[in-house]
Every structure is written in structure tokens, then in C-alpha cells.
Symmetry: D2
Subunit: 419 residues, 4 copies
């Protein structure tokens, strides 16, 4: 969880923020059936229903239960069902068995949401500052789950041989192929990164601190589908010289030959998306690649991945609410860049940095202290937000993290090089 | 599939039989949500929706497609989704991934059933005898799936920590505890077993043939829950001397200490059933035990399992439609015996016989030849039908079969001994 | 373990029998290094050193410890190391970790053998009859391990890419290709099978009892390598129609395309044996096939596997010490048949019978009661002995058993058919 | 492989260095039998014989084969057997199957070593500078394998229930318990780390570069066995709050309750070492702990792990040849510190830094380029050398790396804290 820096002073503004976040979750799942919302397609993914209930449990537990005198739980069995990983909150349904919970139904989970929304909005005026901070945190937490909800639904539908579409395809605007990469140079030297405490941030984004960069350059855009197809055509997935040893073992073991959801049909590459299976757009950013693939591509291209400090230093003057991010329930897909360096939106960008604590980092006390710190091993930092990230959620200092083999998120890659 | 011996000559009777079987399937699933009907709880079990569609695919494929000129498939993707294991019918969804098929929805599967029912009933009068035989086979096939449907739902609900009940508990009639076992002796000698060709039977039930029995005795009833609790209390699950080596390895590896669905609560044994979690009934037959457990119990009790020939010889004069079998959608549970030797209903009884072909057995040609013959390795024969077997489905010659570790069916045990 | 029927009355004869059996084990391992004798190539196989020590532990435990007053164990740690699976004898080294025991060395194990041999031979004159029966049992037990020792060494050497030869190839005698199969008919009827109690037998071979055979015929020889190559060439391993479902799953999962140790080199089939890698001999019996393969071949050939009763009824007038069996340490390999029906030696023949108890079978009390009875699930009976079976070990009533996927023994197949 | 910076100009000095390194390997394995030297105890470890042959293969391949005209391979099968992971050098024995190679024998591997030693020493005077650099690299490479050889033997012997000792225990010198930790403070600021190119280094140690440290302090010694026992007694292994999520999953899955090789006997902690099982020395540094354990201990102690830059900055004035490192074949064990800050020897110290490339790092071309770069994912850096590291092998800039769960090396932990 974040180090709390600023509470939302105005109860009305907080209630509006809360209601708006909650409404987007509900809108996102509108096209789903009870079955769509209940099945778990792999251990890494969770059922929609679980996301909807878990985010609600978060508010109920850390706000209503802890701050509203005499509050009675909506259902005494829900904490067991909908706790994610908070050891301090007791036993819980095993992660890989979340798909067994066919009851409560999707309708009952919606009722749970409505009941908690009512109780919470009613309670806001009387809550202390600490509780309001937790509501703010809960909103950001729910935004994270909105992105997971989209990627988890996509993964589920991709397992179905009939490849159902959730939404119609976005209208395609004809665009030119992206220009060759321009390299944006940086002279190196001491820079400051990390969140400065002004506005909300998760705990792992701080403390703000100085770090030393070497001279380097970053590409002004991410790698495109067309470029990735060239990597495949050049035997990129079959040549161990490009790959980290762990990555090569993964490629061999899993039989990886292309990004997730790509399939060759009638001699051309297609991808599965929430609008069904369609031809890849060569101009759009490549997505659904693992860290191993990103690293191998960079090696093949004679470049490397950026560090997270290089990335953050490059974007501090940019608007984190720009770019292709999630505004509404509807078509979600990386889109071809129009012009200019764009670092936010479309795809999360793998960096070469391990997810480890910044100097001076300390996890918070209590259950919410389990938010980020305990995940600081084995995972890699991604930056920038994606087409499935609710607009306003990401920041220059935002650190997303996944294991190097994972690729069901909207993940992509930007090249860097030493100078 | 069975060797066809008798077709149903009267189209009207066949249509009535068909309609009646199909209606029971639909009735059984009435209390289920779309999610309940879509989730797969383990590789051995299938989603309700899949059972409903697969049995329909059977009629559509082997009758409508093969015998009705110009028939158009209801949906060209369904054969891939709903073929179970017929290699001759082409590729199909992997068995362990049937739970990924959230679409078509339960409603769409119901429509599929209705459409095929209409087409088939319309077609019956013009169908040749071979097709009518396949309809008869399909009805028996669907009855098998009705039993699986019940046991698979039970398994799914048992995975849910809130332990939902599908049906209310059956009204309990006070009964006395079962009397001590009476041993029904048999002098040995040549007997005839196997189906005699009069009426329907699956292929593996024949040919009828002579076999030689040694002198032996069979218990006049199956082992009760109360007796099983005594076995547990005596350390039965912890003493390797009672167990087959494979069984002991299974007990150790899986941490088995009681029948499936049993849990100790407040010092007493409970079981989970379709009416939720309740105290065991000590007078009722024990169920949800594996072959390994059945064999270990028999060893502990100084007895052995019956052979399938001994069992069949004992019941040839009994009414296979007697006993506690499935009549309607509603409470399903083994019940205390009232009186007299009862071999049909309540629980399938593990025998000591491996499921192997009878002398002279030949599998049928074509896809339906895959019905039973290819499963004749590694499985054990069970006899007698259960509380979840549609009444009329079982017979004296009926051979059910499962792997020795499986126990999610309504399986129990009757003792035998050499004389 | 066997029910003891006859003790060896003459101490000198018993000592000679003992010494002779023990000497063959030692001779078999003469060409092995300490490393060859210590490594375990798979869970199913054991290191040579372990076989040598385990058979010795058997005599030390069940004879010296139990019958010689004041006997001190050779090494108090050896029971833990060299007990195989006798639960009644306490904890032991896990089966799959036998290859970790690099100490004691092969030399120390030889010393253990010498010490026990001396103590036992010295003790024989004063031992009671029960102890002498156990010595007899121990000799038969050691003969079983001699066969395992050969097959386990073969398996180990086959893992080594340099494919070392243990022995030179046997001199090849030019022989004609085997004649087409002749079918030896049997009219059916009641026959007696099982050991009659005259001479030694393992417990599972009895009681002798009547059984009823249907009319049938058995092939007068086993299937040859040449015939097997034709099965492969006809796509036998790629056509699911021939296979049991479990067998087909095994073929797919393991990528099986030929018998164990077969490889195609320069367009022809070779096999690895204790004399290295050589071309297959088309006239010799096929070996190193699983039950699944045997059954699939029989299906392809329009035949079936014999039952164990059919096999035993056919051989009761034959000499069980005839045929190609193990006499000395030296080349071991199935050889082309010269003439006439031969049922003993060359290859163990898979039958279609599950390894289950005969009517009236009861396991012995105590540790030796674990000898056979507890393995009576999931395994198939093989009959006849092989080129690696010490001559004199097999009998008409002898029941060997393995799991249906195992094939590192010298296993082959004889066809049968219904009449 | 390293970036080559300095070749050894004097052929005689190079030959002496070579001979000395090679002799130590041979001395280390003197007490081992052929079996000890052949068995593989887990995938991560290799047999002694394999280490001896692989290091020899390295010289034969990259020096003799590539630089000596007309050189004939000692054995054409050895490259397949003894290549470790160089994809560029072709196919090879699977890592987890190295223990299957019982032939060539240990004696034959010794002959291989002798033959290559003779050929190489003879060739040195005529070799070009690039080849001499490879000899120097090969010596450092062999020193790495000397450490692995010791830890792999220890792991193998630990699997043997009789717990054999390879060497006698070292003479214990009575020492006082270590003083409480003193914290050595560092003011922060820009420091230079990485190898400066003067003398040999592996490629991953460079380029030398500036990095920025925050204010911090390092403990003046590593954590002791006594302190670790207190962590255990305080429930350290049972409290998820101290653990990284991956670490907690590992503890639960593997049932971890103490360092590797620790067992409680008669109420006290013992450890297994190359001198057998003995009581732990509470004053000696704890060893055989994973990164997860090191991190959990630091969390429990209110501290953190050092970064690799902090560690390197602290030791640049220290003598890397000081401390308890490997000089001779004989007792190997961490020993209680006598006095003063000691950073080299005894135990490798886990740092909090992921093993990733330094700014400007580029892997070398060709097979030796696979030396380090491809392992730069998922592993953690360790610093300082251990009691099993040949003296002279480690340096201030030396970066060792292992996966966070591995602990069969002599790994320990030094605490750090922010100021």
C-alpha cells in the first residue's frame, strides 16, 4: 500500500471519485454472463466476479469494518472467499481455486457492491482522515483490478475454441506506418526519481531519491507489430544467442513461437482480442510479450531495455494522462502512434530493472503493508500504463511489476542503448 | 457401444422413450445457474452444460447427420466442443479444458437441445432400424450422463467453501440400525453370466458365457456408514497391512483419512451432499469410497471383495428396477436398507474384477466401437447401480467401471468370503 | 511370499543350492565398476549394489536375525538402506533415492555378502525347518533380483550416450526366418491351474483350482522383430483404433514410436543391448514392449492376448527348464526360435489377465506376507520366463506382473484368438 | 567470459599457474570413490567426474582445438558429454542426466586430464596471446568449478542416510562468541565500482562505472549460527510478515524450518558437513541459507540486505586474499571471526541486488560470450567468497549469482541499514 501523503479533504469530492471508479468496474463487465464472470482460466488470472467482490471486500474490511462502529459484515463468509493475499487477514480461498466459487452468483456480487457502496458513501462524512486515505487507496486498488479484469477476461475468452468477441472492433483510422525510431539522447548525470509526495502514490514509488544515469538514448516509440513479425521471420525465436538462459528454457519448454494470442492463419499473422480474432495491425505497438521476449528482441536489434530510472527521467515533463488509456467500457487495444514521443498508454513497457525497494523504503504496518513490499523478488518493473489502464491511474513514478515469463497483460517494449 | 440386439420397432414408443429421457436431464439441471453449469471442478468431471450438449451431439452426429439426408449441423463448431473421446470423430476440446467454454451459454445449450429434439422426433418415423438402434443407445448413453451430471455437480459444489445446497434434504424416516451381515452362500459350479441378448445392453456386457465359481458367500447388504466409522476409529487408514501397495501410496500421497466429502465437525462425522453438509447417517450405506478403500476395509474385516461373476450369479432372479434409484430430479442419497437382500440401487459396489473383455468380445466397427472396449485396462468393475442411476438403466449384467482411486461416484462395498 | 510347502530336508543340498545362487549374482556383476553398480537410472530400477545388498539383507533379516540366537547385525544401518518395501520391517530409504547411496562401496557390499554367506552356511545344520524354508524362499527371491539386475544394468547403460557394451555379442547362428504362426487349438472346458504344492512356488501361484476355458487357439511362437517392424511401417503407433485409451494416452504423452531401445539408424532399425547397439534380428522375438503395445499389436493383427489360464493350460506338459534362459553370466538376448512350440524362455509374454488373487488366496502373516498380495492391483500377468530368467526359476504356474506401461524387462507377446 | 584485459606474457608463469590450479582439483577429489564421483544428487549439482572432465574440455576445446594446428580430440564423444551450456558448441547431455555417465570411469577422466595437461603445457610457448588469455580464463573457470565440486560433494553425501565424512573435522580453536554487530557508516555519494581492467576479471564485473550511494551502514560481520538459532526460536520460519511472497511460498511448499543440512538432534541443532554431522558452532557464520531466508532474517532484525554497490564500496581497501578461503584439500567450513571487519571468505553474502548488466556491458562474441550475460535474469548477486573459494579467486568487484531459493553453496548474510 502507499505511504499516505494526502487525504482527500472534501467528502463530496471523495464520494464522487469513489462512485466514478466503482461505476467503471460495473460498466466493464456489462457484456459478461454469469459463467463468463465465474470461470478462472489460469492461476495467474481471477474470475471477473472475484475481482468485483474482492475490491468491494477491500473497502468493507479496511474502511467499514475498521472505522464504522457497530458495522455488521454483509456476509461472514465473504472474507474467506474474497481476501486475495493478505496474510494478516487470515485464511482464504486458494488462489488457483477462485473459479470454483459459482455461488454467490454474479447478481449476488452486484448486490454486495451496491450494499457496500451505499454504506460507504453514507459513512464518508463522518470518517476520520485515515479512513479517507484508505478509500483513496481503495480507488487506486480498484483501478488496478479494472485492468486485470480486462486482461483476465481476454485470457478466458482466448481459451474458448469459438473465440467469442466481447466488443465490436474499434473503428480503424487509416494511419501511416510508424517512422523509423528516433533516438532521444540523455547526457547522464544525477537525476531525481520516485514520487515526491504530492498526490497519491503507492508505497513502492518512494521515497524520492537521487540516482546516477550513464549517457544513453531511448527510442521515441515502442516496437511495432510489423517489426516484431520481422524478428520472427528472421528466426528470432529459434536462435539461442538472443535469449537469456531462463528465457531460452521457457521458449523451449512452452513451445513459444510468437506473442500470446498470435496465430498464423492463411499465411498471415492474426491476434485474438476482445473484438475476436483479426489480422495484426503492423503499425500498432506489439503487445502480450514477456520480459524474455522483450529482452531477446532488444538483443536481436543491437539494443537493450531501458532501466526504470532512465524511463522515469525521460517522462517527468510529460502528461501522464495523455495517450491511449482506458476511458470507457469498450474496445481496448494498442493503437498506431500518430506522432511525437509518447510514453504513456498503449502498452506497459518492460524495463531491465528488477522490482526492488528504493533507498529508504519501508513497508507500512498492518495488512495494507503487504501491498507491494512482499512482491519485491523475481519480478521486473514495467512503466507507462496501457490501453487498459484507467486514465489518471498511471504516473511518471508508477512501478508496475510482473514475472519475466508473464504476458497476458498489455505488455510491450521500447528500446534503449548506451552512448 | 453395445452390439445392437433389438431395435425399438414402434416409432411412437421410441419417441416417448426419447422424450422422457431428455426431459429428466433438463429437470435435473433446473436449479443450476449458468456459472454452476459451466465450471469444471477436476479433469474427471465435466460441466453440466457440457453433459447436456454432448449427449445432444451424440444424437445429432450418429443419427441426424448420418441418417437424415441433407441435414445441416446446428452449429459447425459444436462437434469440436462436444465430442468426448471418439478419435474417429476428429479433434476436440481437451478434456481438462471443458470448463473454459463459457460460451455457448446454458440458455444456448438448452436451445440446442430443443432444436435437436424437434428434428429427431420428427425424423423417427422415417429412420431405418440401424438409426433407431442408435437412438436407443443414445438414450442409455444419456442416462449414463445423467448420473455423471449429478456426481459432477456434487463435486463442484463441494469445492465451494460456502457449501451450497442444491436441493433440500430428503425427509428422514426413522429406521433401525441395519442388522449384522447375513452371509448368503453359493455352492460354486458353472454359471452363466453376461447379457443374453434380450433387450438392450452395452457391448461389454456380452457375450453371455459360462464361468466357474468356487464356493463362496456374499453379504446380504453393503457396508454402512457406522461400520466405516468403526474402521476409521480402529486406525484403518493408518495401517499399511490392510492396503494394496498402490492404495497405500495413494493414501499417503493424498492424505486420505475418510471417504470423500466426509469431515469431522464438533467431534462427529459429517458428509457433504446435494442437500449441503449434514451428519452422516450411521445406518445408511457408506459411499464415495475408492476401490483401494473398499479393498482395505474388506481386508480389515477379514473378508474380500466379490468377483463380478459372483455378484451377477447372485442377482439373476432379482428385479433390477428395485431399490433406491433415480426417479425424479430431487434429493439423491443412499438410504438405510429396510429389509432383505438388496443388490440394486443406493451405491455401485466395487468388485475385485478388472474390467476386461468377456470371451468372444469384439468391439463394434466405427466410432461407436469406441464405446467400451478401449477402456478395458486399469479399471475395476462395479455392479448394481446407485441412487443416482436412472431406474431402468441398470441390469444384472451391467458392468460399470472406474479407476481404483476414483470415488466421486456413489460407490460402496459389499463383502464376500471364500468357504 | 510363498506359502511354504516343502522344506529342503538335506542341509548339504540346501547349502549347495544357496551357494550356487549367490555365486551367479556375483558373476553377473563382474564387469561392473563401482559407479556402474551405484547409479539409479529411474525410479523403477535399482542400482546393482542395492540388489546385491538387498538380497543379502533378506537372508540376514529373516534367517540370521530371527533364528540364530545372539546374532549381531553386520551393520546396524543396513536395514534402513536395503529394505525394499516391507512396511513391517520399518522405515527405509525412499525407492527413488537408492542411487544416492555411494557408500558403502561395491567392495563393502561384496564383503557384506561374504560375511552373510559364511554365517548362513555355518548356521544351516542347526536351523529349524521354518528357517530352511525361508532360505529356499530367499534363493528364489535372489533369482528374481538377478533378472532385475540384468534389466536394470541394461537400462542404465542405455542412458549413456556412448552406449557402452557390457559383454561381447553372442555368436550369431544363421537361422531361417520363423515360419508363419501355427494356431494350437484348445476345445475349452474345465482345467486346473495354479501350483499344486509339489515343490517351491510363490504364494500368488496358488491355490490350485479349476477354471473354465472357452474354445480358443494360441500361436505356437511369439511375435518376431520382423513382424513388429511391419506393424510400425503400417502406422501401428499412429492409429488410435488399435489402442486401449490408456495406451493411446501413453503413446501420445511419451512420444512412443517403437519398442524401448530401438532407434532408426541409416534407415534401419537397431536396438541397444548389453552387447551395445546393433541391428535388430528380424527372426528373433520382439522384446521391451509394454502391455499397451502388445495389446495394440494383437488388435492390429486381428487377434487378442492369451489369458493366463489359457497359457498355463497349454504348457502343463512342457519342460519349464527348456528354452533360452539364463545359465551363466554372459550375453543375454532373445534368440530366433529353431522349431516347435516353445513357451519358456526368450521373453516374458504379456497376458490379458489382471494380477488378482486366485480363489481362496490368503497372504501369509508377517513381513513375508507382503511378498505378492499387496501388488494385486493395476498390474498385468506375464508368463513364461525370459532369456534373463535363471533356468529353473520359472514354472507353468509362475505369475510375473508389471504395470501396463513398463517395458524395461524382456517382455514380448504371443497372439491368441477365439474360435 | 571475461573481457580480456591482460594476457600472461611469461609462458613459464602461465604454465605454473595452470599446473597449480589443475593440481588442486585433483587433490580435492582424492578421497572419492568412482561411485562418489559419478552420482548426481540433484539437477543443480554435477558429479565430480563431470566437473573434472568439463573443465578439461574447456581447455581442450577453446585452446587446443582452436589454436593448435592438427590437434586431434582426445575422444570425439567427450564434447557431447562434457559441454555444460554453450549453445554455440552444439548438442550436449541434458544437465539433469549427467549422473547417468558411469563410463568413462573416474580413472579414465583422470587420464583425460593428464593427456590434456601434457598437450597444453607443451603448447603454451607457441600459443598466441588470445590463446593464453583463454588459458587464464580457463584457470579462473576451473577455480569456480572447484568450489562447485566441494558443494556438490557435500550435497551428495548429505543424501546418504549413513552421513559419511569426507575429511576429519578441523581442529577447533576455542574462541569467544562474536561481539554484537558494529555498524560501519557510509555518508553516501558517488562511488566507482566494477573492475578497472587491471588484472583478470570476468566480463560481468565491468565496465567500471560511477554509482550513487545513499547514506547507510553495514554490519562489521555476518550473522552467526547462534543468532540464527534465535531467529528460529522466535518463530522466524512461521511468521509470513518477515518473508517475501515468493519466499513464503517456498517455505510452505518445501517445509523449510532451518538452514540446509541443519537437523535437531537431542534438543540441539546440528549441521552436516564434509566432516559428518556435528553440533553447530554458535560463534561461526551461518551458512547454507537462501536469499529468501537472508531477507527474512534481515526483516526480522529490523535491517535489510546490502546492495552490491554498498558492499563493493566498503571493501575496496581490503585484501581480497584475506580471510578463511580455500588453500588446500582438507576441512572446509566457515569459522568464527577473530576480530575486525572481514568481508572476504567464510560465506558468500547475499546482496539485495539483482544480477543485471552494468551500464555499457556487452557480452563477448562467440561461445565464451555465453559465460555470464545470459544468466542475467532471476538471480541475485552474492559477494565476498567463501571458505570453499580458492584463495586468489575472489575480488572486490567479483559478482557471484544464484537463484533466490538456492542454498547448497556456502551462503550467508550481512545486515545493512539506511541512515
Amino acid at each position: 500500500m502507499q505511504t499516505e501523503r494526502h487525504s482527500v479533504a472534501d467528502p463530496l469530492a471523495l464520494a464522487e471519485r469513489y462512485a466514478s471508479v466503482r461505476a467503471l468496474s460495473t460498466a466493464l463487465v456489462a457484456p459478461l454472463s454469469d459463467a463468463d464472470a465465474s470461470v478462472q482460466s489460469m492461476d495467474d488470472a481471477s474470475p471477473t466476479k472475484w475481482h468485483l467482490a474482492h475490491t468491494t471486500w477491500f473497502f468493507e474490511t479496511f474502511v467499514l469494518r475498521d472505522f464504522v462502529p457497530g458495522y455488521q459484515l454483509h456476509d461472514p463468509q465473504f472474507p474467506f472467499l474474497f481476501n486475495s493475499y493478505y496474510e494478516a487477514e487470515g485464511a482464504r480461498q486458494a488462489r488457483g481455486r477462485r473459479g470454483m466459487i459459482t455461488r454467490p452468483t454474479l447478481a449476488a456480487v452486484r448486490e454486495y457492491r451496491t450494499a457496500i457502496d451505499l454504506a460507504l458513501i453514507t459513512a464518508i462524512p463522518d470518517l476520520p482522515s485515515a479512513a479517507r486515505d484508505l478509500i483513496t487507496l481503495g480507488c487506486h486498488h480498484e483501478e488496478q483490478h479494472q485492468e486485470l479484469l480486462i486482461t483476465d477476461i481476454l485470457h478466458l475468452l482466448a481459451q474458448n475454441p469459438i473465440e467469442p468477441a466481447l466488443w465490436p472492433a474499434a473503428r480503424k483510422v487509416p494511419v501511416a506506418m510508424p517512422s523509423p525510431i528516433n533516438w532521444v539522447e540523455h547526457p547522464g548525470g544525477i537525476v531525481e526519481i520516485g514520487h515526491d509526495g504530492d498526490g497519491f502514490a503507492f508505497d513502492a514509488e518512494g521515497p524520492r531519491h537521487q540516482t546516477l544515469l550513464a549517457r544513453h538514448a531511448l527510442a521515441d516509440r515502442t516496437v511495432s507489430n510489423g517489426e516484431w513479425a520481422a524478428f520472427i521471420a528472421d528466426g528470432g525465436y529459434r536462435d539461442p544467442r538472443h535469449w537469456l538462459a531462463d528465457g531460452w528454457a521457457w521458449v523451449q519448454r512452452e513451445g513459444i513461437t510468437a506473442p500470446l494470442y498470435w496465430e498464423e492463419r492463411d499465411g498471415g499473422w492474426t491476434r485474438f482480442g476482445l473484438d475476436g480474432r483479426r489480422a495484426i495491425d503492423p503499425a500498432a505497438p506489439v503487445t502480450h510479450i514477456s520480459f524474455y521476449e522483450a529482452d531477446a528482441y532488444a538483443s536481436w536489434a543491437g539494443a537493450r531495455l531501458p532501466t526504470e530510472a532512465e524511463w522515469e527521467a525521460a517522462v517527468q515533463s510529460q502528461d501522464p494522462e495523455s495517450g491511449n488509456q482506458l476511458d470507457l467500457a469498450g474496445p481496448v487495444e494498442p493503437r498506431p502512434a500518430i506522432s511525437g514521443p509518447a510514453f504513456f498508454g498503449d502498452v506497459w513497457e518492460w524495463t531491465g530493472s528488477a522490482f526492488r525497494p528504493y533507498p529508504g523504503f519501508r513497508a507500512a504496518e498492518g495488512a495494507v503493508g503487504e501491498y507491494n513490499g512482499k512482491f519485491m523478488s523475481g519480478q521486473c518493473v514495467l512503466r507507462g500504463g496501457s490501453c487498459a489502464t484507467p486514465r489518471g491511474h498511471a504516473r511518471a513514478s508508477y512501478r508496475n511489476f510482473f514475472y519475466p515469463h508473464q504476458r497476458w497483460q498489455f505488455t510491450g517494449v521500447r528500446l534503449a542503448k548506451d552512448l
